[in-house]
């Protein structure tokens, strides 16, 4: 697999495939997906009743399956999907099925480098996870909220460790759930365990838990914080110092807490999606400073601009100095960078993407039913039936844009200056 620097960054447009021609070969073609480097386009295709395959740049995989769903390219360019044969399910990567087969398989997760693929699995109504075709030794009556560690080496989930029947409410309230890391459960049990976070070194596991019907907190490696709250949201673990950070609710307001202690000196109507900058210096979260108004808070300070409907998809620049997010006001989608709203508004806009230096922000946008690219509040002059998220070159001076127009899939390399001209 070529690294990003080795991709074809020669400016220009190159037609990769005409997926319209695939129509002649198959009963139907499902929605296509494209490889990170833009060189391949793939889709699940139906050949006949109960016969499915994957078509990549016009070539089908060797094996035909009874059913295929969730086709996705991993960040390293491998193509993975859930496939079924003879009533059993597994993962197929570039057409090769894993050795292990399951009753069902879902929730595919990739590590950032794409080398690791994790999935949730069910066999004989017992639940566990599998990582790169290696299955947990332990299985559980139920499992929710599967997670993959940042380095892709370990998996975790909330698991049920005590059987109970529907209607046994008091047994349930004694605590029948815990968290498991690579299948190894905590000793402590809780009424509920929700989202888990694995530390950067993969040694620690944190989770949001409910101790009884009313008291919530964060548990780290099975030990709850001494402090309890009226509610909590998902924790994150600081990649550098290992501190556990989570939104907590007390007396009707939300705060950001670190290792059980209130961190920021402000309270909010809502606070969620906390995130740490890549350099570890800055904390940010999506907040509602007052009822019905949404914005970002960076190190506890909310942006002056607020939005009515929604703020979502927040992201730090690689150097950690900038924050961009998508907002929505009265059905118009907006891009906000460091608290400044782009003048252009959109029917829809997707997650902002920073250039490696953080100077440039690009995003996929929709206007009047066509899709295009916006860079630093400038809209590229061409629009398409479909596009995928833009990708910056390693130097940040070009953008790879993958587009579909009239069934022609094209790979474009655009100098930034051309878009900003």
């Amino acid at each position: 697999m070529l690294t990003r620097i080795e991709w074809d960054w020669e400016p220009g447009s190159r037609e990769i495939a005409n997926i319209g021609q695939w129509q002649k070969k198959f009963n139907w073609i499902e929605e296509p997906y494209v490889s990170p480097n833009g060189e391949r386009i793939a889709a699940i295709v139906n050949l006949a009743e109960g016969e499915f395959n994957v078509c990549v740049n016009g070539e089908a995989w060797e094996t035909v399956f009874d059913k295929i769903w969730h086709l996705r390219f991993a960040p390293d360019g491998r193509l993975a999907a859930f496939v079924s044969e003879m009533g059993e399910w597994t993962v197929a990567v570039d057409g090769s099925a894993w050795e292990h087969k399951f009753g069902y398989v879902w929730d595919m997760m990739f590590s950032p480098d794409g080398k690791n693929i994790a999935v949730a699995v069910q066999q004989d109504m017992k639940y566990s996870m599998a990582l790169n075709d290696v299955v947990w030794a332990e299985t559980f009556s139920n499992m929710t909220n599967p997670t993959l560690s940042p380095d892709g080496s370990r998996t975790a989930a909330a698991v049920q460790v005590v059987d109970f029947s529907e209607g046994q409410i008091h047994k349930f309230q004694e605590g029948v759930f815990t968290a498991a890391l690579d299948g190894k459960t905590w000793d402590a049990q809780f009424v509920n365990v929700w989202r888990t976070a694995i530390s950067a070194d993969s040694q620690n596991l944190a989770a949001e838990v409910r101790l009884d019907l009313y008291d919530y907190t964060i548990a780290v490696n099975g030990t709850p914080w001494p402090q309890t709250f009226d509610c909590v949201w998902e924790p994150i673990i600081h990649p550098q110092n290992g501190a556990v950070i989570a939104p907590v609710r007390t007396n009707g307001k939300w705060f950001l807490a670190q290792d059980g202690q209130i961190l920021w000196d402000r309270k909010f109507v809502q606070l969620w999606h906390p995130m740490v900058s890549p350099n570890g210096h800055t904390l940010a979260a999506i907040v509602a400073p007052k009822y019905g108004r949404w914005t970002m808070a960076v190190d506890g300070r909310p942006w002056r601009v607020t939005f009515k409907d929604l703020l979502t998809d927040a992201v730090f620049s690689p150097d950690g100095k900038r924050v961009a997010a998508v907002a929505k006001n009265d059905a118009r989608w907006l891009m906000v960078v460091d608290g400044a709203v782009w003048q252009n508004t959109f029917d829809r806009v997707w997650q902002p993407i920073f250039s490696p230096t953080g100077e440039t922000v690009a995003a996929k946008i929709e206007r009047n039913g066509k899709y295009s690219l916006a860079v630093n509040d400038r809209i590229w002059h061409q629009a398409f039936d479909a596009i995928w998220n833009p990708v910056f070159s390693p130097e940040g001076d070009k953008i790879l844009l993958r587009t579909l127009q009239d069934d022609i899939y094209t790979r474009h390399v655009l100098p930034i200056e051309e878009i900003l001209r």
């Binding site: 139907w28 009743e49 969730h70 879902w106 409410i169 509610c231 019905g292 009515k308 929604l310």
Partner: protein, 444 residues
């Protein structure tokens, strides 16, 4: 109408209440009541309490009151008097037995249908007060067992039927395969990011009523809708935690729902024929989270069918012949203003609509909503005895020729089935989609 079964007074035993009160102390009761009344309910509750002049005009609005021969104990104000007013007057110093009875009244003798709010000269929202009582009872651990179990299901799975993550996806794929027997190229597109619409349903559909998923898929396919369904938790729009007073779980479930729609970057969420879920996504759940309005617009099925028919995305082969009557669900008609659109749809697909009276926002409740039917079998007779007036209303429509009862809400549908059977009304009860699917133009 046949004679109802001979009424037999029977003490209701509910483990959720019985065990719950055993753990109460006077201090805990007082602390929780004062926490809710002073810390959570605030100005809204105070305004209601201070404004009510005890006129009793709300009484005639309540189906329980009317069905119990105008017994004042069943009047809306009577229920407030027996619960919240006593808590306020005693500053929270009430007994465990009082809490048990308050839970029973608030959870099973009020459907939170808000009809009474229309009859109050001041517009006092008594349903809100009953839900405040439920909130207190939740924080005291005294909630009817069946609905508490449902709230637990929401907490674990984010759906109300203990449906596990894989079972949901598997059910959609099963229904897709079933529907492909009728339309070979039909798909239920999973996780199709950027689709126009995310279609969301309530837990009972995959659990017991998978044919509704089938019908929805056919309607979407024939209408050429660009749609998707999530393959993750967040697919269920229902919310019984809203009705147990477990606001924190209500918020968690609604967050999953809206963030799933935002992740899929859809323009709109279209929801199936459910009433309470509409209230949860359009009013209570979103607002508890801090969203004044849903962050992704919500379109109820009635509104969606209206749009499809008016825009000729769906055309009708031949209208449904048998005379129908239409039940107006409180949350989408009184709460959502869809009365005329519902009639537009029903008239477009049926030869004859025979109105029941009263109708539209004045319609009588089904006595199942507000979480009452979810309190389970112990309270079935509470619902039957408490809604004789509905049986009389339905009987009157039947005597004018109605044969089919359309109930575009899951709880209404189930509750009216019970009323229909108990009072021997002889209706066949259908969702709008049952008829729409039957009469629409489909590929040969």
């Amino acid at each position: 109408m046949t004679e109802a079964a001979v009424k037999e007074e029977k003490k209701i035993t509910d483990e959720g209440l019985e065990v719950g009160v055993q753990n109460l102390t006077a201090e805990r009761i007082q602390k929780v009541i004062n926490r809710v009344l002073k810390g959570e309910s605030g100005a809204r509750l105070k305004a209601y309490v201070d404004t009510c002049v005890h006129c009793g005009l709300c009484s005639e609005a309540c189906h329980y009151y009317l069905s119990h021969d105008k017994d004042p104990q069943y009047s809306p104000v009577g229920k407030v008097k027996q619960t919240l007013w006593k808590m306020l007057k005693a500053r929270g110093n009430v007994s465990a037995d009082f809490i048990k009875r308050a839970s029973e009244i608030a959870s099973t003798e009020c459907n939170a249908c808000k009809r009474c709010a229309m009859y109050c000269p001041f517009g006092i929202d008594i349903a809100y007060m009953m839900l405040t009582v439920r909130r207190i009872c939740h924080l005291l651990g005294v909630t009817p067992l069946y609905i508490q179990d449902t709230a637990h299901s929401h907490a674990v799975t984010m759906n109300q039927m203990w449906i596990k993550d894989d079972e949901w996806i598997d059910t959609l794929q099963w229904q897709e395969e079933e529907a492909q027997a009728e339309i070979p190229t039909l798909r239920i597109p999973l996780e199709r990011e950027g689709a126009d619409i995310m279609y969301s349903v309530i837990g009972p559909e995959p659990k017991f009523q998978a044919q509704l998923l089938y019908q929805a898929a056919v309607i979407m396919d024939v209408a050429g809708v660009d749609w998707t369904m999530p393959a993750t938790p967040g697919w269920d729009n229902s919310d019984m935690a809203m009705y147990t007073g477990d606001n924190e779980i209500m918020g968690r479930v609604k967050r999953a729902h809206f963030e799933t729609a935002a992740r899929l970057r859809v323009n709109r969420i279209v929801m199936g024929e459910c009433g309470h879920a509409f209230r949860s996504v359009y009013d209570m759940g979103n607002r508890w989270l801090g969203w004044r309005m849903p962050p992704i617009p919500i379109v109820h099925a009635i509104d969606f069918y209206y749009e499809l028919i008016q825009n000729k995305k769906i055309t009708i082969t031949e209208k449904f012949k048998e005379p129908v009557t239409l039940h107006d669900p409180c949350n989408v008609i009184r709460g959502g203003g869809l009365a005329e659109k519902a009639r537009y749809v029903v008239n477009a697909i049926c030869e004859e609509l025979i109105e029941m009276h009263p109708n539209r926002e004045h319609n009588y409740c089904c006595c199942a909503g507000g979480g009452v039917i979810n309190c389970g079998p112990p309270y079935k007779m509470t619902r039957m005895d408490g809604n004789r007036i509905k049986a009389e209303q339905l009987f009157a429509a039947k005597s004018r020729g109605a044969k089919i009862l359309i109930a575009p809400c899951h709880n209404c549908h189930s509750g009216l089935e019970d009323i229909n059977h108990h009072y021997g009304l002889g209706y066949e009860i259908k969702f709008i989609s049952d008829i729409l699917y039957e009469v629409m133009d489909k590929p040969a």
